[in-house]
């Protein structure tokens, strides 16, 4: 069975094929929600941003050019959304308000209580320490580490996503890992956190 490439699917989406959009959704919903979750650490906000990212892909389908890899394009959209959300402190506003977003919709509309409980359960002490160490990194380093380590995106693509050179990505990653090595030193020394 021949598996369609992301590029083929996106070109068909551009021609109005809803099934191809569904296939892209199926392929990238989990990586994208996890990417947003690691950047904003809020499950409801992560899902909201991932929906926004897919919507933007759909809206911009006519402008998609096949000269760039689909994942580079997708993660660039996602990274811009996430960094804007972090800068706007949107997550904190939603949590602090606890009632409604700026569009009047109650956050409970999209909060999955089960997911929130799950989120609490999966965050062990080790997990929390890693999260806090990565959250403390500067934005670009944080995005680079998450893309490299958790999204399995190679540094050439990361350069395209963050709009920097490949050598800048290598440098970003090295500085980030040096910081993490220091912050997580007691855990790294144990061999296994």
């Amino acid at each position: 069975m021949v598996v369609d490439s992301d590029l083929d699917l996106m070109l068909r989406v551009r021609q109005g094929d809803a099934g191809s959009f569904d296939e892209l959704l199926r392929r990238y919903r989990t990586p994208l929600v996890k990417y947003f979750y690691r950047l904003v650490h809020d499950q409801a906000l992560a899902e909201d941003l991932a929906q926004d990212a897919f919507l933007r892909v759909y809206k911009a389908r006519h402008r998609y050019r096949p000269d760039a890899r689909f994942t580079t394009w997708l993660y660039r959209i996602a990274t811009n959304l996430a960094l804007n959300a972090i800068r706007d402190d949107r997550g904190r506003q939603l949590r602090d308000a606890g009632t409604a977003g700026d569009d009047g919709a109650a956050p409970m509309d999209f909060v999955d209580p089960k997911a929130t409980v799950e989120q609490e359960l999966i965050e062990t002490d080790r997990s929390r320490m890693i999260r806090e160490a990565i959250e403390a990194l500067p934005e670009n380093q944080r995005a680079a580490v998450i893309l490299h380590k958790y999204q399995d995106v190679d540094y050439r693509q990361i350069a395209g996503i963050l709009n920097v050179s490949e050598s800048a990505v290598k440098s970003l990653l090295f500085r980030a890992y040096e910081t993490l090595r220091t912050r997580l030193e007691p855990l790294v020394r144990e061999g296994k956190i």
């Binding site: 959009f21 569904d22 959704l25 199926r26 919903r29 989990t30 929600v33 996890k34 979750y37 690691r38 499950q43 899902e47 991932a50 929906q51 897919f54 919507l55 759909y58 809206k59 911009a60 569009d103 999209f110 999955d112 997911a115 799950e118 989120q119 999966i122 062990t124 080790r126 997990s127 890693i130 999260r131 990565i134 490299h148 380590k149 958790y150 540094y155 290598k170 440098s171 990653l173 090295f174 890992y177 040096e178 993490l180 090595r181 997580l184 855990l187 790294v188 061999g191 296994k192 956190i193």
Partner: protein, 178 residues
């Protein structure tokens, strides 16, 4: 023997080196304990980072995306969010104007009502209602025997609630019969 810079060791662990560079570094690591230890730290750090897990998307994630696409949100141009806000602002302004008009109209009605009442009060002889009207009957002087009964029940009639409730008054004789 001179140690290799840490960045090269990091790049080795993260597979960022060209093949010829990688061979060089590996050869060095075989002979340098200090550099081998640093490289091992990077490997441990990389392994440790695996423990940061993230939740899966909710089961209805796809349905929500499809619903948003189908609702026409996707047809909103790139600057759509600003446009939506502008429409919201126009609607809000319309609601405020409408509310102001309603309040102004209400005030006009109240003022008209007050002027009519004051005109009626200024008139020396207001038109007399027909005697058949119940309110007008109350204004007529009572016969002497009725006045006496009323004086006897004065304490009862002083109760405003009872006086204002004509049904209760009409039931009084029935209650006495029962």
């Amino acid at each position: 023997m001179k140690c290799i810079e840490r960045e090269k060791l990091f790049q080795l662990v993260n597979k960022m080196l060209e093949p010829h560079e990688e061979d060089e570094v590996r050869t060095h690591l075989a002979a340098c304990v200090a550099c081998a230890r640093v490289a091992e730290e990077y490997r441990r750090l990389d392994a440790a980072l695996d423990d940061w897990t993230a939740a899966e998307p909710s089961p209805w994630f796809d349905a929500r995306v499809r619903a948003r696409v189908a609702s026409g949100e996707a047809n909103v141009p790139w600057f759509g969010f600003g446009k939506v806000r502008a429409v919201t602002a126009v609607v809000a302004a319309a609601v405020v104007i409408l509310a102001a008009v309603v309040v102004f109209h209400h005030q006009q009605v109240v003022e008209n009502h007050h002027s009519v009442v004051s005109q009626q009060q200024a008139e020396p002889n207001p038109p007399i209602a027909k005697p058949s009207e119940p309110t007008e009957a109350l204004r007529q002087p009572l016969p002497a025997d009725e006045q006496l009964k009323m004086d006897e029940n004065l304490s009862l009639l002083e109760d405003y609630d009872v006086v204002s409730n004509f049904d209760a008054l009409s039931e009084l004789p029935q209650a006495k019969e029962n």
